[in-house]
Symmetry: C2
Subunit: 196 residues, 2 copies
């Protein structure tokens, strides 16, 4: 039974944090990316399947490989971001289940069932992408997640010959709050939720 | 530019929090479910599309509707949980975009493109499910997310006549830590991530 976290943490994770498109000149150490993943991996996935696979693109050469895969409007901000995470999921995640979920034969739930495996990988890989985003914020980083890119091109450039598919991209660094627009409107609880 | 959150908050959200299957006798007010959603909705979705739709099942009558949809092993714990969130996504989320993303015609990116809409709704609805899970923890609640149920049966029982599909379920309340098993092993950063 946990206690609620304090207002400053709620602000940093949810209420005041924003999606960033411009970055200040401040070092973003690899160590913080590692810390964020090591937090995110603690959060739950179905049968601890952990299907997310991440390439953190930092070098200029690898950024250049990514650039033509992006929609025009996402290119400049991504080239300037200290890091861009390619968040993917392994459709054969089940090969890791004997290690990750050792107390039962969970591999057999998915092996030879590509549709179930794909759905599970996409769902749980997306959950993990959200955990990673909030974990980045938790270690003080800002994020700029994006779907505006060609998944097939990213898969060809970064995941060729593997069973990994790209899901979404996320720029990471320290955002420049001076150029943020107003936040888009949020729905009320009763717009999209009900209690029955 | 945010500051990192403190160790106690990291523990409550990621490091010490666990998936719970048993619940202590402590009131779980509707108000906390509302607070959790009102935090989760602040986190990013693509074009602020907010495709997640949630039914928080609390009454015995609605729990009884849910019971036959569950895998046998998930029934007892779900019937005993103070609340069970049915986390769904609206494949016609784009009808809300003129309100949620008013500064451009984002509706046209998805209207009449059911495959793109479904993928976007499933990805972003899953992100939002993860935000909601961590937001529940942030307000002091424990969660028990589950994929072990018949999606078609849940859709028939709770979303009939709508464009909403079930994604996953999540029991919510105050967990009983005395009956937890050991945590499943987590991967190392270098198992599933690289920096290039």
């Amino acid at each position: 039974m946990s206690e609620a976290i304090d207002d400053a943490a709620l602000d940093a994770l949810f209420r005041e944090a924003r999606t960033h498109n411009a970055w200040i000149d401040r070092e973003t150490p690899d160590e913080l990316l590692r810390r964020a993943y090591d937090l995110a991996k603690m959060a739950p996935t179905s049968a601890n399947c952990q299907p997310m696979r991440v390439i953190f693109v930092r070098s200029e050469a690898e950024k250049k490989k990514l650039e033509p895969c992006l929609m025009e409007g996402n290119r400049e901000k991504t080239m300037k971001a200290p890091a861009t995470a390619i968040i993917g999921y392994d459709v054969e995640f089940f090969e890791e289940l004997p290690r990750l979920f050792p107390h039962t034969d969970a591999r057999s739930w998915f092996a030879g069932k590509p549709k179930a495996a794909e759905t599970n990988a996409f769902r749980n890989g997306s959950l993990q992408g959200a955990y990673l985003l909030l974990a980045c914020r938790a270690v003080g980083l800002d994020c700029g997640p994006m779907s505006g890119f060609d998944n097939a091109k990213v898969d060809e450039a970064f995941f060729k010959g593997t069973t990994i598919k790209s899901n979404f991209l996320m720029n990471i660094g320290y955002g420049d709050p001076s150029v943020l627009h107003d936040r888009s409107p949020r729905p009320a609880f009763d717009d999209f939720c009900k209690i029955v």
